[in-house]
Structures are given as C-alpha cells and as structure tokens.
C-alpha cells in the first residue's frame, strides 16, 4: 500500500501480533511443560518458564515410551505415522494425477460418468463412510497393517478434481505441439504434464501429508496391535490414564515431537508450496 496512516499500521500490526500469539502460545506452553519434572503440574498451574528436565523427559520418551499408559515407544509410533502419512500423500497424488489425466485427455465410454462418480465422492469423507469401509478392510484382512491404515484414505477425489482443473487450463496447442513433435500420450504425460504440475504436486503433498499425519479416528478403529499405533492416537492414550494424573511432561514432550515432521515438510516444501498456491506457471 502507498498510504501511510500510522494508526492503520499500528492496528493492523496489533491484530497480526495477537493472531500469532493466539497460535503460538499453546505451542509454547506445550514445549515449556515438556521441560519440567512430573510434580510441577500437581498444583494445577502450568509453569510459564522453562524447567530443567528437558533432556531427561525427551530421553525417556524416545527411549522407552511409557508402557504404563499402554503406548509403545515413541519411535515406533512416529515411524507408523510417517509411513501412513507418506503412503497417503504419495498414493493419492499418483492415483489422482493419473485419473485426472485419463479424464481430461482420453475419450472413453462413460467418461463423464466416471468424472461425476469421482466428483461425488468429494461429499463422502472417511468419517461418513467409516463403518462400511471398516467392514471392507476387516473382510480383506487388512486390520493392523499399513495397507489398512493408508489405502482407504487414498481413494478420494479432492486431488483428482484439482489436477483436472489444472489440466484443462493447459492450452490445447501445447498438446498438439507435442503430438506433432512425436510425443505419444505417456511421453506427453511424463515430459510435459508432470513437470508443469510440479508446483501443484508440491502443494498437494504438503496438504496431504499433514492430513495423513493428523488422522485419528481411522487408525484408532483399525489398529489393536500396539506396533501399528500412530503418534496422534498414542497421545490420546497417554492422556487417558485411569487412577492418576497423566504425565503431562511426557505427553507434552510427545506432542512437541509429533509436531516436528509436518513442520519440516512445510519448511522443506515452502518455496514450491507457496508458488503452487499463488501462481500458475503459464
């Protein structure tokens, strides 16, 4: 803006800072709590300054977990979450970019029907179809497996729809130039369409990774074997202890660790991700 009104500047900054605080403060609290000994929470007050037990708390969690609250070691849960989030993100991107390619570039019978069928699944998120999906997964013997954790979440239309919208903005002349240049359909896909979709893929990867990482209900339903627990459900289990106070310092250490992979993905993909959201490369 060219305007220079001190009050406006002041207010807009004040609001932005408040917003940042509202988001950052709980994160800060979680981190602080993870650096205190267990008895620091008995008073019911959450300390605001860092304690001295950070190394021990994180050490315990990474090392052994707290078996009393029915959670496996943190490393296992982190690994499970990572496998699940990556499978969902990568699987969804592969399936949806291929199906969008088929729908936009090939004339086959019932093409429109296929598109609408995919489109309608947009209205059926996991939570809505959770019981039938559970039945199918159980009948296929996929309970307590990585396949069971990820495959049902891979099949959805959001990404197909986004890729379709992108593909129809790619000029026909480009497709025709590739045809004249001797590129068959798959070559065109690999050499032209895929590189052009790069920023879209990066943006989708970030969104889908976080979506997969944060899944709670589905892993809770289909895993009974500890070695397939994911970190998000692990946290919940750690809080649900019977006759005593949850070990807040350990819980918060876990929470802090659980936040790291999504943050890392965002940071690493940031350049591409932002590009994908704000511009379409012509």
């Amino acid at each position: 803006m060219v305007e220079n009104r001190p009050w406006l500047t002041f207010f807009s900054h004040a609001i932005l800072i408040l917003g940042v605080l509202a988001v950052a403060f709980p994160v800060y609290l979680a981190f602080i709590a993870s650096t205190h000994p267990q008895n620091a929470f008995i008073s019911g007050l959450v300390p605001l300054l860092p304690g001295d037990r950070m190394i021990e708390n994180y050490g315990t969690m990474l090392d052994a977990g707290i078996s009393t609250s029915g959670a496996p070691p943190l490393g296992v849960m982190m690994w499970n979450s990572l496998v699940m989030a990556l499978s969902i993100a990568i699987g969804k991107i592969i399936i949806s970019i291929l199906s969008a390619f088929a729908i936009v570039y090939f004339r086959f019978p019932f093409r429109l029907l296929a598109f609408w069928a995919i489109f309608i699944t947009l209205m059926l998120p996991v939570e809505v179809r959770i019981l039938p999906t559970f039945k199918v997964v159980a009948d296929l013997g996929l309970l307590n497996s990585y396949a069971g954790l990820s495959i049902p979440l891979i099949a959805s239309a959001t990404a197909t729809f986004l890729f379709r919208q992108f593909f129809i903005t790619v000029p026909d002349e480009l497709t025709e130039a590739a045809r004249v240049d001797g590129a068959g359909p798959m070559k065109f896909f690999r050499d032209i369409l895929l590189p052009l979709s790069r920023t879209n893929i990066a943006a989708l990867f970030v969104i889908l990774f976080i979506y997969g990482w944060n899944q709670y209900l589905w892993p809770l339903l289909i895993t009974t074997d500890e070695s397939y627990y994911t970190i998000v459900m692990g946290i919940k289990r750690m809080v649900q202890v019977a006759d005593s106070q949850p070990n807040w310092n350990f819980v918060m250490a876990t929470v802090t660790l659980a936040m790291l992979p999504p943050v890392l993905v965002v940071i690493l993909m940031q350049r591409l991700f932002v590009k994908g959201l704000v511009e379409t490369e012509k």
């Binding site: 002349e173 480009l174 045809r179 004249v180 240049d181 050499d191």
Partner: protein, 350 residues
C-alpha cells in the same frame, strides 16, 4: 520436401457442423500457399486436417504422393507453428528445439548441428538457455519457427503465426518468413485472416468463405481479377467499391456503357482506379460530395457521398490533389477498370 494434395476433402464436426465442404487443392513442392478468409471460414480446420490434428470426414489427404489420412501428425513429417507459439514453458529454448528430434531418436551430434543451424538462421543463439517466459513475443515467435525448421520436415504449416505481434514486428517477421521459406524451399501452408499478409507472402492465395474455396490464384490475379463478389469485397484495402447495376445507372444519369451485360447484377471498381479526369478514355462520370478525407502518407482516401442513391464511393488520390471537404466532385470510372459480377451467382463476368 513434398507436394501436398487434397482430394474431395470434407470436414463435419460433431453436431453436424460442416466446416469444410468437399474441396480439391494441389500444393506444389516448395510452394508457399496462403489460406485466407474471414474468421470461422474453416482455414484452421483445413490446415489441421493436413497436419493430422483433425480427422478427415471424407476424401484423401496426400503428402509427397502417399495417402496420410490414417497417419499420426508425427508420422506425417510436417512441422507446425501455432498462433500462441505453444512453446513448452518448462523447457529452455534449446530443450524446445531438441524435443521433436529426441523423440525421433536423432543422434546427439545431428541434434546439436541442427540446433546450431537453426539458431544461426533465426539469430536466437544468445537465448538458447533461457526459458520461453524470459523472451519477448518476437523472440518466442522465432523459437517457434526454430522448432519447425530443426526438424527439416516435408512441409511447414503456419496457423496465424503473427497475429499476436504488434504491427511493426509483424511486418518484419512477414519478410523473414518469406525469406526463410525461399531459402529452405520447403512446401508451406500459411493461414491468415489478414488479406495484406496473404497478398505479400503468397506464391498462390486461396480465398475461402464459409468452408468453400472462392478463388485460387497468384496474389496479383486475385487482386486484379477477383472471381466472385466475395473475393472482390475481401481482397484489397480500402475495399473495392461495389454498386448494384441500377444504382450506378441512376448515378451516371440514366445510362451505362454497352459493355455492361444484361446479367450483370453488381459492378465494382477499385478505389485506385477511379480517376479525377477521363483523359479521353470511355468512362462513367458520377458526382458526389466529399464527406471525409483520410491522408495516408503520399496519398489520400476520399469518401464521396453520391446524392441520388446515398451510397459512398471511396477513391484514392495522389497527395491532396485539389480535393477539399464538403466540396462537390465529379469522378470518372474507366470502363476498362470495371469488374462485373453475375446477378444470380455473384461470379465474375468477363
């Protein structure tokens, strides 16, 4: 290098839109043929059928003597230059030039040599490593041309390649395309809606209207002897003056020369054929009021309002030769310069 022949070629789009009525066209080896006509007349459709980007509903397309109807564009060995350049945005200029050759399995050394050659001819050497978005419109146009010439194809197909450029650049590129085509001597089909572009570029012009060929001929032929009313009106700027026989009779004072036949429905005369004095030649004299004078460099376009029929006649005069606004002016239409068109069919009568 090859001749292109179309025999009874027809195109019907889904929904029963006939874009091209059955037509024959023979393009000689090394010729630069220009398809010209108003927007929507089917020029692109015809070109795309030659390229293989559009299926042929009926008839046969032949390149180099052999039928190619069932061949993919890449197998027809043609190169195409598109209106929006259609450069691959994520590849460098070099990548764009190489792509078609790589797909054909051309050896590396050969590819490098051809890219080198094209870069030299089109003077795009300095941009070879840039992306298309870092180039100006004119430079992109050159790269698009380069992508065509590295292929050493049997034919170049151009679909309005200059219409995204500004007027000055368009003029320059037009000259360059002509020069290039001359030196490579590659059969070319060039589509444009701009009759000036058509006239200046073409070895032969094909004037099209509503999916049909109106006339095929050298630019001078098409200009001097338009085969139909449509061609007469389309080619030339300012456009030919066209009057109904009765209108001209009224303006001329009730009678026309004997050379005007009974079937003539429309009489035309080029603005530059209208003269201010008869110079002793047989001519029709008409009088009107000067409504507008457009000075265009060395000459002026004068718009003359004819009082009896309320029609406007355009004439070209050298400089400003004794014409002034709102004055009455008598002009002469030399009988030898008149074009006559049939009242029923609109075809030329000689």
């Amino acid at each position: 290098m090859a001749a292109i022949d179309l025999a009874g070629v027809k195109k019907t789009y889904p929904g029963n839109v006939t874009a091209i009525h059955p037509l024959d066209l023979n393009i000689a080896d090394g010729e630069l043929l220009v398809l010209v006509g108003p927007s929507g007349c089917g020029k692109s459709t015809l070109l795309r059928m030659i390229a293989g980007l559009e299926t042929v509903t009926e008839g046969e397309v032949m390149i180099g003597g052999g039928p190619v109807n069932k061949r993919e564009p890449a197998e027809r060995d043609i190169a195409m230059v598109f209106q929006n350049y259609a450069l691959y945005p994520h590849m460098s200029v070099r990548g764009n030039l190489e792509y078609g050759l790589k797909n054909r399995g051309t050896p590396r050394a050969e590819i490098d040599a051809r890219v080198e050659e094209a870069a030299r001819i089109l003077e795009i050497g300095p941009f070879l490593e840039r992306k298309p978005r870092q180039l100006s419109g004119g430079q992109r146009q050159r790269v698009a041309m380069g992508r065509a010439i590295v292929r050493h194809p049997k034919a170049f197909l151009f679909d309005e390649p200059l219409s995204n450029l500004d007027a000055k650049l368009r003029g320059q590129m037009r000259v360059e395309i002509k020069r290039l085509q001359r030196s490579l001597n590659t059969t070319s089909v060039y589509v444009t809606h701009d009759q000036l572009e058509a006239m200046t570029l073409a070895d032969r012009v094909v004037v099209m209207n509503a999916g049909r060929i109106e006339q095929i001929g050298k630019p001078t032929e098409v200009y001097e002897r338009p085969a139909s009313l449509f061609v007469a009106g389309f080619v030339g700027s300012p456009p030919m003056n066209l009057f109904g026989t009765d209108e001209l009779k009224t303006e001329a004072g009730g009678s026309l020369p004997e050379s005007i036949g009974a079937n003539t429905g429309t009489i035309g005369i080029r603005p530059d054929a209208v003269t201010l004095s008869a110079n002793g030649n047989p001519a029709i004299a008409v009088t009107g009021t000067i409504e507008l004078i457009e000075p265009v460099g060395g000459e002026s376009h004068v718009y003359l309002r004819l009082p009896k029929t309320d029609r406007v006649m355009i004439l070209v005069v050298r400089g400003h030769e004794g014409v002034s606004l709102a004055a009455d002016l008598t002009v002469h239409l030399p009988v030898g310069a008149l074009h006559q068109f049939d009242a029923g069919t609109g075809r030329r009568i000689d």
